[in-house]
C-alpha cells in the first residue's frame, strides 16, 4: 500500500464543495487577495491576479460545477486564493492558475485504499477530476489542473 500527500481544498459560500490537489501543486496561498475583475469573461473565471510577473486566471470552481443554477446568481463570497502549478504535458512549461477557496487548504495523506468513485452532486466532476478518494467527510475528487485551467471549461 502506498500513500501520497495532498491538499484538500474547500469551495463555495458554505464550504460545501471539496476537492484535492497534489501536495506539490500548491505553490502559494493568499489569505487576503487582491484580484482584478476582467469584463467579458466567463462567470466562473472573471478575475486575474498579477503574481510573480505573471497574469494568473482565478477560477471559481464551485460556480462552474453548479453552472445551471448559478448562471445569473451574484458571485460567491470569496475568502482566500490558492495558486497552483501544472503542466499540460510532461515536458511542457509550468503554468499557473488560482482557485477561490472558502478556507485555507488542509494537508492530508491519502492511501491507495481510499480510492472511490466521483461524487454524484455534479455531473461536471468528470471533466475536471482525474481520481477520487474518500475521507471521513465523504468523497474528495482529485483535480486535474491542466483541465481546470484549459479553455475547455469556458465553452462547457
Amino acid at each position: 500500500m502506498s500513500s501520497a500527500g495532498a491538499w484538500v481544498l474547500t469551495f463555495g459560500d458554505f464550504g460545501g464543495v471539496r476537492a484535492a490537489v497534489g501536495v506539490r501543486e500548491q505553490v502559494h496561498l493568499m489569505l487576503e487577495p487582491e484580484a482584478a475583475e476582467v469584463a467579458g469573461t466567463p462567470a466562473h473565471c472573471r478575475h486575474v491576479i498579477f503574481w510573480n510577473g505573471r497574469c494568473v486566471p482565478v477560477m471559481d470552481l464551485s460556480r462552474w460545477l453548479d453552472a445551471v443554477t448559478t448562471a445569473t446568481a451574484p458571485p460567491n463570497r470569496r475568502r482566500h486564493l490558492g495558486v497552483y502549478a501544472y503542466q499540460t504535458e510532461a515536458n511542457a512549461a509550468v503554468e499557473f492558475g488560482a482557485l477561490w477557496l472558502a478556507r485555507p487548504p488542509q494537508r492530508i495523506e491519502v492511501d491507495d485504499e481510499a480510492a472511490a468513485s466521483l461524487p454524484m452532486d455534479s455531473a461536471r466532476w468528470a471533466d475536471v477530476a482525474s481520481a477520487c478518494f474518500t475521507d471521513a467527510a465523504g468523497a474528495v475528487p482529485v483535480l486535474d489542473l491542466s483541465r481546470v485551467f484549459s479553455g475547455a471549461l469556458a465553452g462547457a
Binding site: 476582467v38 469584463a39 467579458g40 466567463p42 473565471c45 486575474v48 497574469c55 494568473v56 485551467f149 469556458a154
Partner: protein, 168 residues
C-alpha cells in the same frame, strides 16, 4: 500579443466600469457623441456620424462588451475606429491616451477566452486592469456588417487626427 516593453501609446476607452485599451493607430478620431445623428442608422447601428464628408455607423457597448440597443446617457464620446473595411463609431464615457511604457500587457489566459470574444489580453494599469482589444475585435463585438468602401477610400487621403485626452 503586444509585449510589456512595446513602445507607443494606447487609447483607453471607458464603458462604465470597463476599460478597453486599443493601439492608438486603431482610433481615427474622438468626436462628441451629440454630433451623431440617431434618427438615421444602418441595420444594427444606433445612429450615424459624419466625419470628413462620409457617414459612419455608430454603436454602443455595455460593460460586458455586448452591443446595446439604446444610447446610455453616460456615453459622451464617439470613438471613430478604423477597421479593415472602413470606419465605425463606438460610444464611450471617457477616452484617455496612455503611454505604453511601463504598462504590463499579458495575453488573456486560456481559461478566460470565449469563442468570438473581442478580448485579446489584459493590461495592468496600476489602478486596475484594462482589457486589450483591437478595432477588429470591437467591430466583431458590435456586429459591424458592412461599411461603405467608398467612405473608406475617401478618408484614406485625410490626415489622421490625434486622439484627444478627455479631462478627468
Amino acid at each position: 500579443m503586444d509585449g510589456p516593453s512595446h513602445s507607443g501609446h494606447l487609447v483607453l476607452l471607458h464603458f462604465g466600469r470597463t476599460r478597453v485599451a486599443l493601439a492608438q493607430r486603431a482610433v481615427r478620431s474622438l468626436e462628441a457623441a451629440v454630433d451623431a445623428d440617431y434618427s438615421v442608422a444602418a441595420p444594427g447601428a444606433l445612429g450615424a456620424i459624419v466625419v470628413a464628408g462620409a457617414s459612419w455607423p455608430v454603436y454602443a457597448l455595455d460593460e460586458e462588451l455586448k452591443r446595446l440597443h439604446n444610447v446610455p446617457r453616460e456615453r459622451r464620446i464617439c470613438a471613430l475606429l478604423a477597421a479593415e473595411h472602413g470606419l465605425f463609431g463606438v460610444l464611450c464615457d471617457e477616452a484617455q491616451v496612455l503611454a505604453r511604457q511601463n504598462l504590463s500587457a499579458y495575453p488573456l489566459p486560456v481559461a478566460m477566452r470565449r469563442k468570438g470574444s473581442a478580448l485579446e489580453g489584459v493590461l495592468n494599469i496600476g489602478t486596475g486592469v484594462a482589457v486589450l482589444s483591437s478595432a477588429r475585435g470591437l467591430a466583431f463585438a458590435v456586429g459591424v456588417a458592412e461599411v461603405t468602401k467608398a467612405g473608406a477610400d475617401e478618408l484614406q487621403s485625410e490626415p489622421l487626427s490625434e486622439p484627444q485626452s478627455e479631462p478627468q
